[in-house]
């Protein structure tokens, strides 16, 4: 007789295909520095949008027709647009095509596409390198820089809608272009190890600036503010993680943003201008990683005086103030639109150390407000 166990159900729901190959990439793929040339020439692109469109088309052109079917789903494939997670790709499937299965030309083209929408690729490179590091330090074949997936939804265009997804374990980039305007959320980044690590002679420290920027906010606070911004309850992960996985809609995630009395913490407009600058710096640590044409208007919206009158910073955890080396430490920025969380979890592969899960969302414009 057939029985359905709880987790098997999710396995069935999550894994529509099978990901049977182990990581085949090397640090080259992670660092991108010695990667093969993509042969994609976008030097004639004038604006960042033109460049993104050019790089996306260039990437797709490097693919075989079978590869392109996987890497270029229709924009209407909404279930796939929400197929991202923080978990390793062997546990939860992703949209798009696996980097490790692509030729080095195609991989280079994919990374150039991401470089066109990001001013700062150190997090992208560093999190992939961290996966290689985990694979070599106890994690085994379920981790690796090759186990990251890239997808271009629809037809890249400066006017019509299209989207980019890039991610895998501890990473999700979801950039939706609506009439030429880019929306960079939901954006998940996590990393284990949290501390600096060296791989093939290169040292990486992704998310250190994000983590430090958040802690700095609370370090600047008076002890009264530190205790009034402390949330009760335990946070073992971010609240609004990939809750909408494979549903094709943002309903599930929108339902989890706090409302009413759950919107609590210290109001940013009540802080000094120096402290507010720290909040701005923290927001920029996520948002300004994206190209200025995408991020600058968002930063303006998120950090305006009006926005700060409705933006709360809060934290949780067992220590007297946020300590990122204590498991269960949690920090967040909760604005009318901006939503940033950092959760410090216990180590999975590397025992005894905490690691980061972070999420950056826009309460109104996740997926460009198209889902």
């Amino acid at each position: 007789m057939k029985t359905v166990s709880a987790m098997m159900l999710f396995a069935v729901a999550a894994c529509s295909g099978t990901d049977t190959s182990t990581s085949t990439s090397t640090a080259d793929a992670a660092s991108g520095s010695d990667a093969a040339s993509s042969g994609v020439d976008c030097t004639s692109a004038t604006t960042a949008l033109d460049k993104a469109v050019c790089q996306a088309n260039g990437f797709l052109a490097t693919l075989s027709s079978t590869e392109r079917t996987t890497a270029n789903p229709a924009l209407t494939d909404t279930a796939s647009r929400t197929r991202w997670s923080n978990l390793p790709t062997g546990m939860v499937t992703r949209a798009g095509i696996k980097m490790g299965s692509l030729s080095s030309t195609s991989q280079a083209a994919a990374l150039e596409l991401m470089a066109a929408v990001l001013t700062d690729t150190t997090d992208l490179t560093g999190v992939r390198a961290a996966d290689d590091y985990l694979a070599a330090n106890g994690g085994g074949g379920g981790y690796g820089a090759g186990l990251y997936y890239v997808a271009v939804f629809g037809t890249p265009s400066t006017t019509a809608n299209w989207a980019i997804m890039f991610g895998g374990h501890h990473m999700a980039y979801n950039i939706t272009f609506v009439g030429g305007v880019g929306y960079p959320t939901p954006n998940h980044l996590g990393v284990e190890p949290k501390a600096a690590f060296t791989l093939n002679g290169v040292t990486y420290e992704p998310l250190t600036d994000e983590g430090n920027a958040m802690v700095a906010i609370f370090q600047s606070m008076s002890s009264t503010d530190v205790s009034s911004s402390h949330l009760s309850g335990t946070f073992s992960d971010v609240v609004v993680g990939p809750v909408e996985y494979a549903t094709g809609s943002s309903t599930a995630s929108k339902a989890k943003f706090p409302t009413g009395t759950n919107r609590t913490g210290v109001l940013v407009s009540s802080l000094s201008s120096t402290q507010q600058a720290l909040v701005t710096a923290a927001i920029e640590a996520w948002v300004s990683d994206f190209d200025a044409t995408i991020s600058s208007s968002l930063v303006t919206d998120y950090t305006s005086a009006t926005a700060y009158q409705d933006t709360y910073v809060a934290w949780a955890g067992s220590s007297s103030s946020p300590d990122v080396d204590v498991s269960g430490t949690y920090m967040r920025i909760d604005g009318p639109r901006v939503w940033i969380e950092v959760a410090c979890q216990g180590g999975i592969v590397i025992q005894g150390k905490t690691h980061y899960h972070t999420i950056y969302r826009d309460k109104m414009y996740d997926y460009g407000n198209t889902l």
Binding site: M7, F10, T18, T22, G90, G140, S236, D237, A255
Partner: protein
């Protein structure tokens, strides 16, 4: 999926990942709501503010009390359902160990078991980022039959209550759903079908003492087929009813192994007669065992007496309808082929396959070890219609061959006459 995780070296590591969250399966019936509540161990430990070791050591009564204080169903007037906590166990699931609670909620007097407001604070009272996924797993009235649960809602810190309304549907939809359940159950029941087919394969034949011989008359063949089918139907209907109504149940391993034996016996009988003339008796006798297996398909639906009778009726009708279809598709071909000279090859070939399959099944069911064979057979069963097509094809071929033979013989006779 487990093999995949092990292959990727993730099996132990995966245990620590916060995969999803709490999962609730609801089996909704007329009398009660059966709930299977499954929480990842680490998340329950966090919710109870203790270590996993402390949680593992917690006495069952304490955990049951925790659940009683945290999980509730209420009717439209806010009155709570009665709650019995059944088994509390740790299960190793794909994503790691989980604590699984079996709960039974009964509605207050006068209230329906099909409408309730579910509240679950077990994890959410502490773990702010927790999610509780609520599925309806069985609800016959709405054709949810157990093998593909429906997600009806998610609880989280901002939404700790969920209204579950399963009042749609009526007796008619229950009957239809039960009918489909019966149809599917025998269509996918490779073992039941194999037993039946082994008996049908020899129904058209007469027999000398210890060997099968040529075809009996068509009338006799048809009568025998009818006798076998009726006896099998009576047998399995009886134990199906007893199982569903009186809760008659034998250990699954025994029933499944006995079914494998029944196939082995009927396959041997198809090779050479073991109980010639007594096929209906064997069909009826083993039918009793097969019926016990059918009864498990109707378990977990929370029937009251009227809905149980209806479900039984519908299910049985479904089984018989599919049985008739299978007989109609195969028996005419078998009867025609039985007159052909090569029939013994077909008969013994089929018997050999059935003997091998039943031997493997018997091994699997007794030892608990799964072999790849069951997957192969299940897939073959899904394409069972090709068997009927194949048989019909053989009939056509055999006629063409004999016609060819006849024209050759005519030519040979003419040649001889002319010489």
């Amino acid at each position: 999926m487990v093999a995949l995780l092990v292959g990727l070296g993730l099996s132990r590591r995966a245990a620590a990942h916060d995969v999803r969250g709490e999962v609730i399966f609801l089996d909704v019936g007329e009398q009660a709501v059966e709930v299977e509540l499954s929480v990842p161990m680490f998340q329950l430990a966090l919710a109870r503010r203790q270590s996993i070791e402390q949680l593992t050591a917690a006495p069952r009564e304490e955990l049951a009390a925790d659940v009683r204080g945290s999980v509730a169903l209420r009717d439209r007037s806010g009155r709570p359902f009665g709650l019995e906590v059944g088994t509390v166990s740790v299960q190793q699931q794909e994503a790691g160990p989980a604590m699984v609670f079996a709960l039974r909620f009964t509605p207050p007097r006068g209230a329906s078991a099909r409408w309730f407001e579910l509240a679950d604070e077990l994890v959410l009272r502490t773990v702010v980022n927790g999610n509780v996924y609520v599925f309806v797993r069985r609800d016959l009235q709405n054709a949810v039959l157990g093998d593909s649960p429906t997600l009806v809602g998610t609880l989280h810190y901002q939404q700790r209550r969920l209204t579950v309304d399963r009042t749609a549907g009526d007796r008619r939809t229950s009957l239809i759903a039960a009918f489909h359940l019966g149809l599917d159950h025998i269509r996918e029941g490779t073992d039941h079908l194999m037993f039946l087919l082994m008996l049908l394969v020899v129904a058209p034949l007469a027999h000398a003492r210890r060997a099968w011989s040529t075809a009996a008359t068509a009338r006799r063949g048809l009568l025998r087929t009818a006798g076998i089918a009726t006896a099998f139907t009576l047998g399995h209907s009886l134990t199906l009813a007893l199982g569903a109504v009186a809760g008659l149940a034998l250990p699954t391993r025994f029933v499944e192994s006995a079914i494998a034996i029944s196939i082995l016996v009927s396959a041997i009988h198809a090779w050479r007669p073991v109980f010639a003339g007594k096929e209906p008796l064997i069909a009826g006798g083993f039918g009793l065992i097969h019926g016990l297996a059918f009864a498990t398909a109707l378990s977990g639906f929370g029937f009251d007496t009227p809905s149980l009778v209806l479900a039984l009726l519908g299910f049985n009708l479904g089984v018989e309808a599919m049985q008739l279809v299978i007989i109609a598709l195969t028996v005419p071909s078998l009867m025609m082929l039985a007159r052909r000279r090569g029939y013994a090859v077909l008969r013994r070939g089929a018997a050999a396959i059935a003997m091998a399959a039943s031997a493997v099944w018997l091994f699997e069911r007794l030892s608990g070890v799964t072999t790849p064979l069951s997957a192969v057979l299940d897939r073959a069963a899904r394409h069972g219609v090709w068997l009927a097509v194949g048989l019909a094809g053989l009939v056509v071929l055999s006629f063409a061959w004999s016609r060819r033979g006849r024209s050759l013989r005519t030519v040979a006779w003419a040649a001889r006459e002319s010489l």
